[in-house]
Symmetry: C2
């Protein structure tokens, strides 16, 4: 059993606490959501002293289980006003597990602008003045931290957006090259870290023992099955490693659910220019990396390194959602501009989905022209300048819509929509509306059965089956997030009867438990119930579980040819095009 | 029975409609709130086509009843997201009544930026292109309208703030000198008018008959009693006519409930510099007007005209709430600077309470220094420049707090607090929290019994009695707003057993009814119930009926001497200073 590391950010003090019984056995999202429900007053100001920012490795963290290195960050969200969990890859989760730290809990807030950094290692904890890191972007912060504390330390940091407490602010993690390509992006958690004046957290596991495994043989056997499962599934074994998540551009566009020009249609005429295929071609020609893991032990390796025209590093972790948000949504068709926007988000510490949607809203409001990548770069740069425009843009899509008098803003619970139209991919549309997280595809990725034929098939255009699809996925996802597993393992799990039992075997072998698959699903349900309870206390009602008014607009019917190259569907989907 | 004038702002068409039975007999706030409940989807976007903007004269409008010329404006509020009624004096209400128009209802919205003006007179209705009025402030618009359509026409217009659809935008009314000194200030209704691209509404009653009175003798007798009552009460007969509402500065400061430096204390050391006494002295020395009616037939005459140091017109309708918001709240102590801020608000079309509180939040966030009047003028001017800072400031206190990462923002239901601290004037504090309108002193002015000894006495520092005080006042106020009476008549009504019966006598005599005082209070209750029903449908819960977290801060105890110069209390108040 590990310990909770509680840091009082006002007093610059910390203490280690035995994990109390009420949190025993929890990890990842299960722990962050339970702690927020129990310890954070639901009606508090998200930037006030009563909010807490919690980082928790998953239950499998630090073990050799493939793809188990995701770290959950949780707080009351400055963006949604509700509970938030946002997880990311990087180096921190496994190192915390090795250090025996079940969670870092940031509490209270300083009165003055005295930023700190927190350094956690096998010798203990230091809370140090942030010095000249203040005002710097994540690239500079991470470079500095690796220089000072050693290559390969885990780093969580905020850029200029978090310092300004903007609702679009992310917390970034150093990736395996020490760059801020991984992000706890959604929900503005970087603003909570900024309010608590913590510029960075460094986690170094040098000298720490391995994580104990109660039954090593059973674990090894289960993990072997697990790795095979991930390797042999066409999505996790072929599609994602080959092209990264950007493989989805052509697929989703072909399926007519690639939201274009602020959700006016589901097809972008220039999708090919920003596709995964195009990206892979450019990366290969320019000397980047098409296939990279976001954390040690990942076997899917959907990340990448993208170089500019001169062959110099430009950005990394350049994902489908980012390409859609800055691309199809805004009609920007130059992939290099989109890559620069991704880099700026990583550097300033901004959620790329929120910012891409926001840039589209700025275009809708006439602030910059549709499709103008250079203007978008100029506008987003204002966040780094601490300029008034940046304080609008950096606060996200709804805020920018309000600033500009735009009434077509695709948000649920104030959070911007991801890259699937809820009218032509209703499984994910139900998730946008009903997840306690605010519009979030990762909370219940109905694209699986709606479009990819993974885990069965459910017609994306009809209501039938999509509520059940979303609900089932939301429960499973919550459990996956608690385990600290990458969400993409779901592709394999959904198509393998042996998927969930294998995860359970690893959990049992690591911790000496005798859980059943049903126990794990019950855990998923309890997480969702905790989150919904918090939101109810915060004032959420069923009104907050609705899509915004703009989705009453008639959606242009899409004729598509039924190609879903990620996987050969055994039972080809047939769609009703009469929407 | 009058008619509803419905204007389709998209098609530029109108029609007159017999008042349907469900709205029969209603006027003012009773009508606007019922129509919004019945006709506006509660979850619609306030700037979308489904919202409606309704202007309704009160039930007594157009009659000779003293102080019955207030016009109600209603819509779903862009600021609060809930139902909103905001009433103002000016010339429109009585003219609409004479034209037989029970309400003007603006519906739908144009797709393009094609602004219109609406001209209503005895010959009918014209919807005309706004031409070069677009981009102009309210001073220029009203001057132009009086020049074109004749001195003394009623004008409703929006300035640059309404055009930008900012949440702080007001709808201004030409006062009796054709200046925009009167405002439907609260709740951002100017943004709804801006979304519907209506720059101005001109109402001319030339040639229209008088409003019919069913029993002229009974009406005359009742109105005589009514006028006497207003003339003989110390507040409506002496305090308000002598110094305007600014008479309250010293009173409320003395009572320790004049919120200072963003609600850090209840006393402003420079209150004397911005007091009603000081203002009257300056007005008299510079050739302004200390006592003026906001609409024909007003016998209280609390308005004024304020000149600058050179003796030139600077602003009018310069009120206590404005002086507090830009003064005590921000610690600006130069009355001339505050007067300039008032003028800018009138010209751009901004709510002075919301803007004053917002300027204080900008100071809290470090954007400009505390107490710097010139910096405040510079910042507020950005709204007129359509600049990014203006799009932040013009969207109000909460928005500005969010832009700047400020967690101490005094709002309820997202609307900024008026000029009384809810901790040391709990009667109005209960109103801030519980009125469906968002923090609004006029919805239930507990200052009466809390501070002024009007309508009895209730200790402002204790919980006891203040919920009942606020509830009773909220009901009575809703009825007063339905009648179209100025809220200030409440001072006299609360201290006269014959007050409410006299109002009822006038209503009965005008319309040939046989209402009882109880019927009128039931009307007040039904208005509140309609409003609460709308808000519930819009997603409001009891969480929205709470004061923000900052009011958990300990409030410095205030020692005061119990002087309340507006009225000699028969039973002097005693206060418990142990807060």
């Amino acid at each position: 059993m590990g310990k909770l590391l509680r840091v009082n950010t006002k007093e610059k003090k910390f203490n280690f606490e035995e994990v109390p019984g009420v949190y025993a056995g929890l990890g990842g999202r299960a722990l962050t959501s339970k702690m927020i429900l129990d310890e954070v007053p639901a009606t508090c100001h998200p930037l006030g002293k009563a909010n807490k920012l919690i980082f928790a490795p998953g239950i499998l963290a630090g073990s050799p289980a493939a793809d188990s290195g995701r770290l959950s960050a949780g707080a009351k969200s400055p963006l949604t006003g509700g509970i938030k969990e946002s997880n990311a890859g990087g180096l921190v989760s496994q190192k915390l597990a090795k250090l025996g730290i079940t969670a870092i809990v940031l509490e209270d807030k300083p009165v003055d602008n005295d930023y700190s950094i927190i350094v956690v290692n096998n010798d203990g904890v230091q809370i140090l003045p942030a010095g000249d890191l203040v005002g710097k972007g994540n690239y500079a912060v991470m470079e500095s931290m690796w220089k000072k504390y050693g290559k390969n330390v885990g780093v969580l940091s905020i850029g200029q957006a978090g310092e300004q407490c903007l609702k679009g602010a992310s917390i970034n993690q150093a990736d395996m090259n020490g760059r801020p390509g991984r992000a706890h992006g959604r929900g503005g958690l970087g603003a909570v870290m900024g309010a608590k004046k913590i510029k960075a957290i460094v986690v170094d596991d040098k000298g720490a023992p391995r994580v104990a495994i109660k039954d090593p043989d059973a674990f090894k056997a289960a993990n072997k099955k697990w790795v095979d499962m991930l390797h042999t599934h066409p999505v996790t074994g072929q599609g994602l490693p080959a092209l990264g998540t950007a493989v989805l551009v052509n697929v989703i566009n072909e399926a007519g659910t690639f939201p274009t020009k602020n959700f006016r249609s589901g097809r972008f005429e220039h999708a090919q220019d920003i596709s995964g295929e195009k990206m892979a071609e450019l990366i290969q020609a320019r000397g980047g990396i098409t296939t990279e893991a976001c954390h040690p032990g990942c076997v899917i390796k959907c990340s990448n390194v993208y170089h500019d025209k001169e062959g110099k590093y430009l950005t990394s972790g350049f994902e489908y959602e980012t390409i859609w948000a800055f691309g199809g949504h805004t009609t920007i068709k130059e992939l290099d501009d989109i890559a620069m926007l991704d880099r700026l988000c990583d550097d300033f510490g901004l959620d790329t989905i929120e910012m891409g949607v926001t840039i589209g809203i700025a275009m809708e409001g006439g602030l910059i022209p549709w499709g103008d990548g250079k203007a978008a770069i100029g506008l987003l740069s204002k966040v780094g300048d601490y300029a008034p425009e940046g304080k609008i843009i950096g606060n996200g899509a709804l805020f920018t819509g309000d600033a500009l008098g735009v009434d077509r803003v695709p948000v649920c619970k104030k959070q911007a929509f991801p890259a699937y139209d809820p009218r032509s991919c209703k499984g994910v549309g139900v998730t946008y509306a009903t997840t306690p997280m605010g519009a979030d595809h990762t909370a219940g990725y109905g694209v699986t059965a709606n479009i990819l034929g993974v885990g069965g098939t459910v017609d994306p255009h009809k209501k039938e089956g999509n509520v059940a699809l979303s609900q089932g996925l939301q429960i499973a996802t919550a459990a996956i997030d608690a385990a600290g597993l990458c969400l993409f393992v779901a592709f394999a799990v959904l198509d393998n009867e042996d998927g969930l039992p294998t995860i359970v075997e690893m959990l049992n072998a690591q911790h000496g438990l005798s859980l059943t698959p049903n126990d794990v699903l019950e855990l998923g349900k309890s997480i969702l119930n905790n989150e919904k309870e918090f939101n109810k206390k915060a004032g959420f009602t069923k009104v907050d579980d609705q899509l915004p008014e703009m989705f009453n607009e008639k959606f242009p019917p899409i004729i598509h040819n039924g190609i879903f190259p990620l996987k050969n569907c055994q039972k080809p989907l047939t769609f009703d095009n009469n929407l």
